[in-house]
Amino acid sequence: MIPFSYIRAGSADEATAAGKEPATWFLAGGTNLIDLMKETVERPARLVDINQLPLDQIETLPGGGLRLGALARNADTAYHPTVEADYPLLASAILAGASPQLRNAATNGGNINQRTRCYYFYDVATPCNKREPGSGCGAINGVNRIHAILGASDQCIATHPSDMCIALAALDATVQVTGPAGQRSIPFADYHRLPGDNPSKDNTLQPGELVTAIDLPDGKFTKNYTYLKLRDRLSYAFALVSVAVAMKLEGGAISDLRVALGGVAHKPWRRPEAERQLLGRAPDDAAFSEFADALLDGAVGQGENDFKIPLARKAIQRALRQAAAGTPQSQVDKRIA
């Protein structure tokens, strides 16, 4: 690892003051950052250790909803009684990701800030516009089986690797941040960004801004939900395609629907206008088929990942059926019901 200087932040103000300096990274669980530093993909001059900050609580919000502290560990979040009872989609998505060891170390703030697993981003011997702006993209016309089919640009076709974020997108979470300019709330849909002509930037955080919490709204989806994840092996692999569905049914019709896709884009992929089209409809195959087409509208394969388009189409339909039937995908028994 390339040497760096180290600061232990005693307060959020101290952290953000230090964090706005160039080449300075916040360090929480470290499961992604330390790995990237070993690969010299990330070369910080300074790390600001935020592990001592009191941001590890999970607490009910006064107006309803749940606040997940940025430093609460992924495992503690998934197994928290309120998350299990009221936000089972989130618990399921977290448990679909990584390994128990990683979930014990990784934090909620770190999870949403993790970087792509594109092979070219990791391989410093190859060009990568995300790692080194302007150097080119090895994945376009390269080995791109795991890459994006939606929202990519001619500079970057990387995907966001998180499972947790796909559930957070479907649940309309809000990211709370504090920084040199004060505190602000970022709707989850606006937190991550598409690569465009600046793929080096994964999200909309400003220099020095620190994620303090992720808020879940009061709306609970405890019956008609699922997190369906398809990957190359049954456990401990990133999604080729994943689908988070949160649905409400009333009198035999869909009264609320949120669907987010993982493994297909630079950010969790949602189309609220397509979701609205299904309101009032019966939860049947015709509606689900139309919705899958609408959600995947504009999907483009890169060659090796062309299979993701039909795979995603089937996965969306299957996940919608699971949610409508109230039979969420088990994260232990991987047979797909």
């Binding site: 690892m1 040497p3 760096f4 200087s5 180290y6 232990r8 300096e21 160039p22 080449a23 300075t24 360090l27 470290g30 499961t31 330390i34 790995d35 530093m37 070993k38 070369r43 910080p44 001059a45 300074r46 790390l47 250790d49 592990n51 495992a75 197994y79 990584a98 390994s99 128990p100 060891q101 990683l102 014990n104 170390a105 790692r131 080194e132 702006p133 080096s200 456990s235 401990y236 994260q331 232990v332 028994d333």
Partner: protein, 177 residues
Amino acid sequence: MPPQATLQPAAPAFDVKVDFSLTINGRKHSFSVEPWVTLLDLLRERLDLTGSKKGCDHGQCGACTVLVDGKRINSCLKLAVTLDGSEITTIEGLADGDRLHPLQQAFVEHDAFQCGYCTPGQICSAQGLINEGRARTAAEIRELMSGNLCRCGAYTNIVDAVEEVVRQGALHKEAAE
């Protein structure tokens, strides 16, 4: 502008060692080391606790698994300085003198290893799994041991060994209640 240009150190403070202490296998240790030393390297290179293995060094194989305050983590991805005040348990800390830990005994009895390289990580991970209390069935054990790879392919016997100790624990718990 190439990114390297912005990655120059703000100040050459690289000779600064950081003081912290850890309790490792019940014994308190004080350290003054560079901040980039991982827990795995600290254990292996400074304390000669070489049971924890450096397999992939990237959090993918689980051979470096240890318990921090009772929770299993990949020690290769954890900077030691960030753990000030924590209690670490490694494979060397599980046995009670000459008496093997129940998981060690079960791994022997079930022939749950071939080369043995992944075994310390498997056993520490299994102890973490037991502490978590989430795995009861063989299917749940397989899923919750998925962070530990075994290139010899001893998985079937590893699951049997862990399942036996999980079941013993459940019986003891029932007896206590």
